[in-house]
Amino acid sequence: MKFQRDKASFRDPDGFVFSRDGVIYRQINNSCREDYETLMNSGLYQKLVDAGLLIPHEEVEIEAPEPESLFKVIRPEPIHFISYPYEWCFSQIKDAALATLKIQKIAFEFGMSLKDCSAYNIQFRNAAPVFIDTLSFEKYRKGSPWVAYKQFCQHFLAPLALISYRDVRLNELLRAYIDGIPLDLASLLLPFRSKFKLSLLLHIHLHAKSQKHYADKAVSNKDTGKVSRLSFMGIVDGLEAAVKSLKWQPAGTEWGDYYSDTNYSSAAQQHKKQLVGEFLDKTNPAVVWDIGANTGIFSRVASDKGIPTVSSDIDPAAVEKNYLECVKSGRSNIHPLLLDLTNPSPGIGWENQERKSFIERGPADTVMALALIHHLAISNNLPFNKIAELFSRICASLIIEFVPKSDSQVKRLLTTREDIFPDYNEDGFERAFKEYFSLVRSEKVKESERTLYLMKKK
């Protein structure tokens, strides 16, 4: 097939995303002509692109999939890894929310407004949120309320409030509800004290009540009023203040010493970094996925070589720390990601294809799985061959660390359970992985019990 229409791009009648020969394009339909021209000619597009808030694009002359409705085809700048809000830490969701509101505020100065406020319209590029849906801008109609208000509350305010007031794991509700967390559910889950915060009382609790109150009522035009420009700006400004005021920090920890507890001596750590660097030089990957990256110490070895690196971990606190450090240091080629490899993001939405599964977004050139194998094999009872098979599906080369039973971390895992893993040893590990990979190099990490392997997929 010449064109491949993006499976997530079917809701907007004004255009859609498609790919051709691996390049992503967006068809803009005639119905969107006026809004697109206003975006481009008013100076809004340039202002947002210059601010790094909107993905830049080029208009191209190529054959379009639906020429009868075609106005233009654009080619947006590619994003190296697409991620979804249920894979973001608290500060990533917060920064995405603030970027969306900033875009709305700037658009308003140019007489435009966002008609779509989905969190899926934001992606992370250079460790910062960027809006990717060029067709979400429409001319502001005087007196109209903000059509994306409900979506903003469901996609951003509700998860941030739930994390901030209840528990960081509630961001997983975004995976269950593709159009954001229903506000009645958010209202139910938030503690009573959240009602004393005016912004949450209004935008979540009373908003949810209003949704329920008007759910089965016919509303005629004369019942509805208008929202003045000042009120419109007030609502957006109120949402911005609400988002800014929400904070999250892991209970009982101080950022300074979080994750300083490792069982590596500094010489071992240094040697491991050196080996990872050498292995990366040998494979020379264009993209690295560091799985079980913790706060991203070894992702930074790849990042320092200029390799875009997805740095994933199961622990929201580790991902948060990783992200905040990337922002602080301006390290732009690391994408921190919240991911449980034993239950990775599935394909969700219509036909299970609107949002891709984690595995579908691969393979990566190189996967790094450092200090991870014992968590998979011992904590999750995964046989080596199943682990090797999965890695063979998501990468071309693998840098993997074997952590033996004599290692203090493995001993700790086995103290409270029966050792039912007679094959958990270096021989068993190598035998299973040789089914799928060729062993290129293996090195003992100095001052530790561990071995680092470089493997190439067969």
């Binding site: 309320p145 903000w146 208000y149 409900k150 509350c153 229903p182 506000l183 009645d184 139910l188 209004l202 609790h205 009373l206 908003h207 009540k209 209003s210 949704q211 329920k212 109150h213 008007y214 759910a215 089965d216 009522k217 509303v219 019942d223 509805t224 009023g225 208008k226 929202v227 003045s228 000042l230 009120s231 419109f232 700006m233 007030g234 609502i235 400004d237 109120g238």
Partner: protein
Amino acid sequence: MNFTTRLDKLVILACIYLISIKDAHAYLDPGTGSYIFQILIAVLAGALFGIKIFWHQVKAFLANLFSKNKKDDEA
């Protein structure tokens, strides 16, 4: 919808909310409720925003005044 009607509805909604909290899950069209809700809170949001802008202007004026006085003193 005039101001008093909006305010009445917002107060009624707040009252309904306080006395009936956990009774329904199903909604048919949350879009309408969100749309109307913005109209209900518009005056409050506009007023708060107006006060914020005014306050920022007062602060900027005072800051300007003091920095001017300081410069005059230095001169």
